[in-house]
Amino acid sequence: MLLEVKGLNKRYEGQVACEDVSFDLWPGEVLAIVGESGSGKTSLLKCISTQLGFDSGTVHYKGADLGAMGEAAKRELMRTQWGFVHQDARDGLRMGVSAGANVGERLMAVGERHYGSIRQTAAEWMARVEIDPARMDESPRQFSGGMRQRLQIARNLVSRPQLIFMDEPTGGLDVSVQARLLDLLRGLVRDMGLAAIVVTHDLAVAKLLSSRIMVMQKGRVVEQGLTDQVLEDPQAAYSQLLVSSVLQV
């Protein structure tokens, strides 16, 4: 098992963000956490990825208790084994350095030292996320929203992490740009055997990327199961409402 979350609770100033959340994640599995704004899904993602402390419960990564882990060890984990794709690419990229450096930096963080091979790998990854490598010396400020998001993905995947956290990875992008990004992500996750936790309010994103879904409402998990099971035969009233609210084209 890669990740084991047990009885996680988190409150903000008396308000419940996550209540008694438990789930497992195995290598290569993609779990989607769905629910409307304020359902606690982003807080949960932050708690699990050690960006936010929690009140009670445990999170184990490969058997190690994250609650008992020192700051240095956590940073090491984030740098070498985890990736984080933010909704706003500006939160995940360094906007002041070139696109190629954004990708190359992660390689240096995992110990790669040879300039030529870093540049070479960065170029390969830019091509893999469908950005012309000829633009690697440009600043991400000159990129469109969709390109920035793809660059953020390249920056995260270049160091071959085992677990990637994604918070609304397609939020704020045009529909056609979304489709391309989702398809790219789906292929990369599959080819690399990545495990991922994707927070999204968009069930279409969950359907395309995940094998399992967890439905959250008011900080609680109201239902979890295989993606097609939750989407085709939702049991909880709230899941039925979510599924029936999807616009059919």
Binding site: D183, L226, D233, Q240
Partner: protein, 225 residues
């Protein structure tokens, strides 16, 4: 367990929470067994649970009671009580499912859509695509379409791609949801031929066939729901 598949005392209803918790009963105390090489044809008016039965076996519908035991990699597993990981493993290795409509994934070429079940079993891409192209050819999909995503194909072409996908990896249990609907006579005959081939290779089949002659030609038993 002697049988390949054994459904016992199945109970399935839907509670529609958004419609005053209206309850729709689909199965109550329903039992069924299936062995290697056997084929069960499902028929009956719509809304009586034919597709639901296939979805229950596939694990995408959750029954309230009973058991669905299947022989999977030499062991007996109850699909209703299996973990999501186990259900995915059963789907990968033991159950093949031809759905009514192809779930199209943007930008994935038809040949890879068809080859995917074999790729998921770890078969080499070259070999998987070879098998996929044989099936596409057999179901008369023109070769110039193989490299295109099926999004733009006609309804009938999409359905044939879907059938090819369902038959690509040999599965001990095959679920077929109206595999011959809306196909022309030639392709209907080809699909029935694929079903017969699967049966003689030892697969068990549960299929929805509205045409009685078709059903009788491939099914050893019929169940009118």
């Amino acid at each position: 367990m002697q049988h390949l598949l054994e459904i016992t005392a199945l109970e399935k209803h839907f509670i529609l929470h958004l419609q005053e918790s209206q309850r729709i009963d689909v199965f109550s105390d329903f039992s069924l067994t299936l062995d290697e090489g056997q084929s069960l044809g499902l028929a009956g008016p719509s809304g009586k649970g034919k597709s639901s039965l296939l979805k229950i076996i596939w694990g995408s519908y959750q029954p309230q009671a009973g058991s669905i035991r299947i022989r999977h990699r030499g062991e007996v597993v109850d699909i209703m009580r299996a973990s999501p990981r186990e259900v995915l493993d059963i789907r990968r290795h033991t159950i093949g499912y031809v759905t009514q409509f192809l779930r199209v994934i943007p930008r994935v070429p038809a040949i890879d859509v068809v080859a995917e079940p074999l790729l998921e079993r770890g078969v080499a891409p070259e070999k998987a695509r070879q098998r996929a192209s044989e099936l596409l050819e057999r179901l008369s999909i023109p070769e110039k379409l193989w490299k295109l995503p099926p999004l733009t194909f006609s309804g009938g072409e999409q359905q044939r791609v879907n059938i090819a996908r369902g038959f690509c990896a040999p599965s001990p249990v095959l679920l077929l949801d109206e595999p011959t609907a809306s196909l022309d006579a030639l392709n209907r005959a080809r699909v029935l031929e694929l079903v017969r081939d699967a049966l003689s290779a030892g697969s068990a089949v549960i299929g929805i066939f509205h045409d009685e002659a078709e059903r009788l030609s491939v099914c050893s038993r019929s169940l009118i729901l």
